[in-house]
């Protein structure tokens, strides 16, 4: 390199330094804001929750003190907690399977060309866009044992002579909450899976067709393997969404009709902390929930990494 070029480069570097400093300080400021936001609104409440779970913080108790693992011992012996966990896992399993299957089925159907396809695609996304509270209010009205439309249809079936008490029936309450949750959630899986289907190159299908593959074989050997990462992502996301679901369950059954039949862990946490004001035990239940969601998230990260490794190899 010529000396004059080196000198020119030095000069340029020198002149750029203040600009770089400004750029760096801007970057640090922006990063600081994000870290501060995360610290104040995410990390601090989580830390506070952990700390509270080791105390006897109940509204009405005067001296809040450190009680060690007492709340966790109570958690282990708490039948209601284990029952709520069982309810949560059952609810999650059905919602995940239901929402992903229905999303997949709808996406496969609406990926085909037919007249009115765009209208059908828009219509299917409506439940997702519908506000949860309005959806629940309409659903409750439909399930009303006296005036609800559900009984009009139910009574068409042989053997049903009296109006069913839908949401107050211990056998029907959970299935209904699951159906409502799937109806509300599946448009999201539909949209994402549809996008994944559209990303599969057309040429792959054309090559398979030339090789004599039928539609079922193409679905099994091309479509499903190609969208497996998306299906996996949907399964994990739906698990997290359904684990966190509060509004739909609380407004339809409030955890009842009795015995906590539809009381998931999130409802139990709310009841404990904000209706019974046992903040410490509510926080302990929250920590248990946090661990479960963290487990699901790690599962997702692991599955994604595995997919990436498989794709690279």
């Amino acid at each position: 390199m010529l000396q004059s070029e080196v000198a020119e480069q030095d000069r340029v570097t020198f002149t750029r330094r203040p600009w770089r400093r400004r750029q760096n300080s801007l970057a640090y400021t922006l990063v600081f804001l994000i870290v501060a936001y995360l610290g104040v609104f995410i990390l601090f409440p989580i830390a506070q929750q952990f700390l509270t779970s080791f105390s006897n913080n109940v509204v009405g108790v005067d001296n809040v003190t450190w009680v060690g693992l007492r709340n966790y011992e109570r958690l282990m012996e708490d039948e209601d907690f284990w029952f709520a966990l069982q309810v949560t896992l059952t609810y999650m399993a059905f919602v995940v399977v239901g929402a992903v299957s229905l999303g997949l089925l709808s996406a496969l159907l609406l990926n085909r060309k037919f007249r009115g396809r765009n209208v059908a695609r828009s219509a299917i996304a409506v439940p997702w866009a519908f506000p949860e509270i309005s959806a629940v209010l309409v659903f409750i009205w439909m399930c009303n044992p006296t005036f609800g439309v559900m009984n009009v249809f139910a009574r068409l079936f042989p053997g049903i002579e009296q109006n069913l008490n839908w949401l107050s029936d211990p056998k029907l309450a959970m299935p209904l909450v699951i159906i409502l949750s799937i109806w509300k959630a599946f448009p999201f899986t539909f949209l994402v899976i549809l996008a994944a289907l559209q990303a599969i190159p057309r040429e792959v299908y054309e090559a398979a067709e030339v090789d004599g593959a039928n539609r079922l074989q193409m679905l099994r050997h091309i479509t499903i393997p190609e969208i497996t990462p998306t299906l996996l992502l949907m399964a994990v996301l739906m698990s997290i969404f359904s684990f966190k679901q509060f509004t739909l369950i609380w407004l339809t059954t409030g955890g009842g009709p009795y015995g906590g039949i539809t009381e998931t862990l999130v409802l139990r946490i709310y009841q404990t902390a904000f209706r019974f004001f046992d903040l410490a035990y509510g926080a302990t239940l929250g920590v248990a929930g946090f661990v479960i969601v963290l487990g699901l998230t790690l599962l997702f990260v692991y599955a994604q990494q595995r997919q990436d490794r498989a794709r690279r190899s």
Binding site: V59, G60, V61, N144, T146, S168, G256, Y258, G260, Q271
Partner: protein, 440 residues
Amino acid sequence: MNRPGNGLLLPRSMSMGRRDFLKRTAAAGFAAALATPAIAQNAKIRIPLVSWMWNEPGRGDAWRAMLAKFHAEQSDVFVEEAGAPFNEFNNNMLIQSQSGKVNGALFHTTPDLVVRLLRGGHLEPLQDIVDKLGIGDKLSAAHDHLRVDGKVHGLDIVTVKFGLLYNSELFDKAGVGAPSSVEEWVQTTTALTKAPDQFGIYSPHLMSEPGDFWFILQQWAVMFDGKWAEGRTPLVNSEPVIEGLKLFKKMYDNGMPKGTDIATANQMYANGRIAQQLIVSAAVNIWSTTGPDIYKSLRSVVPPGPSAKAITRIHPICVNAHASDDEKAAAKSFVEWLYKPENYQELMERCLDVVPPYPEAIRKEYLDQQFWADGYLKGEAITPLEIMGDYIFFNQEFGNIVMDKFSEVLVADRPVEDAMADAQQNLERASERLFDGFTL
């Protein structure tokens, strides 16, 4: 000329630089300040009145009218609306209380909440107001639990009392009269039920509406002179409570629109499709504004059980002990003004209330006009503290245990005795935990 770098190539007059933005914001702020009522500008101090009532039809407007009158009569203090709807109000206040301080210089409270706030040291004594107005010995007995060392710490702004509120037009059509005994009540309710067009009675019964379910369920046992707890001993398997719950179940089976939520039931009541509700007097104000057609047909009788007792809840206005001295003085000046007979009478009339905190707070002529109030005035008052014992501090948790087991009675036909035996056991187990470290 275009401002370089704005990217939009707007004429200079339409683009907005930082200084322009600041100037315009300042101008807008100044204009907004000018637009606020002059009275608020002149007031030496502004204090919030934290309440759920602003959201209630009828009652919210009545309170706004009273504030307007207060502001018109003086210009030193400006009282502002603040708070949350009823369902969130208690929770918000309790959580604030747990953090050590509650918001607002003035707030409305409920019977359950006020004892907790009193216990937490959040309430300023109001005895000086009572002494100044000379009503110390006239205040209703319901204020007794608000006294510490003889000083009252809250003053009632609405007493709500249970009664059986019925639609006299439906009763006349069915050829039945107001019930005076349990047997008569069951017969009347059955006669008034022509499902699905008309139902004899409604009482909340869904676990998705636990606040109202428990609030009204408590009265069913009181009709049989029942108490839900005494001190720290739950009494949910005692005979009067069982009797009350059996009656509820009978009414549920024979006369209620099962599985119906409160909003729907209220609409049905307003449309004349439900004949009776066991409900508090304050609800009548809602019908007067939202159901004028039914309002003129409303009548009440004492809840028709052997005890003739009706749960009576006072809702006090309180001054925050953590407010500054100036705020406390301003808040007290409002309470003192409100408690003068002429102002309190106006408040009661605007709210359609019928149970005064002291005799001069209600005009006889007004009371005589309240054709629906008879049953509310005749019932023998009993307070939540008398029926809940020390569990008044854990009212919701207590209620949840009872409602959960009672729901088995309603929807799975479990015998009341069995369900309440379970509830009693659960409550006894819970009491060890609830009262651990809890001192009165």
